[in-house]
Symmetry: C2
């Protein structure tokens, strides 16, 4: 283990992980079985257009989500667009700024206006009071996000939606296989949207899905996914191409089949992180909200700069140098991204976002998933302890010569990383 | 061969093709090689996010299209959206109504207004005079379609675009591998969009691509494809998820490699159709425009009802009963589809569309591609001759009892087919 500051890769030592560890490294389970599934698909003559693999995948998703309907799509961004169009949203949609940019962009792409509300400091999901303060006559929907798989408490949000006649569409991109009070994510509000992107613990390479218990909404989503076409020659709705194809669906089916193993590994990893992180002053593993069972896909920690001795951005930079490719999602926040930051001040912002601002400075995510072994995490844990113990010396070095920090050779952030430019 | 009317499947005879022939049956070439490519992708750890397969596919597309840039996308509809956004289109976009609905829907999906111009009766591509008559101060672009691979004559369209300061974006969904005066489709206007959907002769299961010679436009399209993200934490543009993934790209690469064989078969099939159809009164194979070399992906015929003795819709119904799943693209025309037909009269319609109307009644497409053998086409040819010879008797039967027509058991049009409901 690294016992002195010069041993740190950031200052010229050898990276702890020459082969870096990623947040959301894509995993293929049951490689040979999947390959024989793909073989069968290629021989079947039906490669897309709602074939048997997609239908089976939709059924499997319904099984996990406990919903009547699943509409599989090529990705979750398209799924959000199709759901919003199927719900006939107009004007403004209230959502967190503390989310992946796609939540906002999916609405903006189809001409809707994201309005950003603040989130709860413990669950990181929408704060109902902040949402209520954002409602205007132009609001048509609330789009809460089950961030980190923290399934939102729907009670207050539903009340606001009902009071103002708003639609309630959940971005459940992080929440496949998560539960609240024993009920799986999927059946809340008018509809929920899952992501099955390769970085998710269950994935179809690229993919997304709308789940709902409404027969009429499901029917409309299916139409909109396929150009609004309802017969060989009949177009009865505006639509797009949102189709998931058979190779993706086959991959997704194998992934769902491996869920028990993937969940076991995620929870095991999280437990190892929990043990090590609890021993590091100023670093806290974000606890799961009461009543929520997550898929442990994200290992989220909060840095207290004063206690730890380094800022979140400094810690991220040092860990990345070691090949621990931690992330600082979702810096700088949707409200600071183009085009929202460039818009007139009150177009997307109606309320202050103090909690969001705080989280954007202090939250980070650790690598997990099947490609990260508990032994790796123990090494990360020891590294964290040694970084924290040397934080004073590190801080002094950074203050005087941060520009000389040594990047990990495999770091994709190397050419341009705000965290580094702004840190120190 | 069927020599009497009762032998026709439509009137109770056995279908000529119990295993039906389709327009655009997906083809996998070099199955074993593709499977080993997919195997390698699955083992590589990079399944999406602009991986090596996608980059190689983009390079191969550039090679065929003769362009500097290719941006591969999840499908052509998304490609049209991304191209339109990258070109910063606003207001109205002039396009043919005689095209697949996705051309119009892609614009409408992102808040642009399709305005429908008429087409040339011989090439079936935009009539520049009709386009010129549609220009208003709200027009931002012309979106011509290289229908059936008939690469548009760009001269007049470019002149109109230049005169009015309009962008010129070509929907080249049908035109991969086609040429005009020896120059491949791809480099016209500001950009062109290819489709690589499974029904196309070269395909990536689902897929599309933007090709352009503009460095700046290509850069912007790449950004928009990936959420507008330009760094690990930097969002500098509105964007969507338009990513093609590695399994699709690997399939597309094998398909491009097989182009010579696929083209040979398409042209061989077309020649057999040409020979047989030339002997049928009232049926004409649509000739390729002078100076254009097509991929022969579509075998398009025009029915002269008076001469043939049956309407196009009647002929389509009878052939489909036999398992010859001919199509009547693009009935009923975009301008008669929802939401365009329901809009205020002058929102999408500024000029009459007499040629479009005529084509919508008279044009049909025959099955071709690697799954259709020349011997199949000879049987279709003989069937066409016998149908034409008996057209009088068939017409009388249809007039008295069209409702009793017998469907092919595998016909997906069975539950609801306007052609049949309206024919007779």
């Amino acid at each position: 283990m690294k016992s002195s500051v010069p041993q740190l890769a950031a200052f010229g030592g050898r990276p702890l992980f020459p082969q870096p560890l990623h947040v959301g490294q894509p995993v293929i389970t049951d490689h040979e079985l999947l390959l024989s599934d793909l073989d069968r698909v290629l021989r079947s003559g039906q490669l897309t257009n709602h074939g048997p693999q997609v239908r089976a995948f939709e059924e499997a998703v319904c099984g996990v989500a406990g919903t009547r309907h699943c509409i599989a799509l090529c990705n979750a961004t398209t799924a959000l667009q199709v759901a919003a169009r199927a719900l006939q949203l107009t004007g403004e949609v209230i959502m967190p700024s503390f989310t992946f940019i796609a939540t906002a962009h999916a609405m903006e792409w189809i001409g809707l206006t994201p309005v950003f509300a603040d989130v709860d400091p413990l669950t990181h999901t929408l704060d109902p009071d902040s949402v209520a303060a954002c409602v205007t006559p132009r609001t048509s929907a609330i789009l809460p996000v089950h961030l980190w798989g923290h399934v939102c408490d729907p009670a207050d949000l539903t009340q606001i939606a009902t009071r103002h006649g708003l639609r309630l569409l959940f971005d459940a991109s992080h929440a496949f296989g998560c539960r609240r009070a024993g009920t799986p994510a999927g059946g809340l509000g008018d509809a929920e949207v899952f992501s099955f992107h390769a970085t998710k613990f269950v994935h179809s390479v690229e993919g997304g899905a709308i789940v709902t218990n409404s027969d009429a909404l499901a029917e409309r989503c299916r139409r909109l996914r396929g150009f609004g076409i309802t017969g060989l020659q009949e177009v009865s709705d505006i639509g797009t191409n949102g189709k998931m194809h058979e190779l993706s669906a086959a991959t997704g089916l194998r992934s769902i089949a491996a869920m028990p193993e993937l969940l076991r590994r995620n929870h095991e990893n999280r437990a190892v992180y929990a043990e090590w992180i609890s021993a590091v002053p100023g670093l806290k593993l974000l606890p799961r909200p009461s009543a929520v069972d997550t898929n442990a896909q994200y290992v989220v920690a909060v840095v207290d700069e004063d206690q730890f001795g380094l800022s979140r951005d400094q810690l991220v930079a040092i860990l990345r140098s070691e090949g621990v490719f931690v992330r600082s999602y979702f810096t700088p926040g949707c409200h600071r991204a183009v085009p929202y930051a460039d818009a007139p001040p009150d177009r997307h912002m109606r309320v202050p976002l103090p909690v969001t601002e705080q989280l954007l400075r202090s939250v980070m995510q650790f690598p997990t998933g099947r490609s990260v072994a508990p032994a790796d995490i123990e090494r990360i844990g020891a590294l964290l302890q040694s970084i924290c113990a040397s934080s004073g010396e590190i801080r002094r070095r950074l203050a005087t010569g941060f520009g000389r920090i040594v990047w990990h050779p495999a770091d994709p952030a190397r050419p341009r990383d705000n965290a580094l430019r702004e840190a120190g």
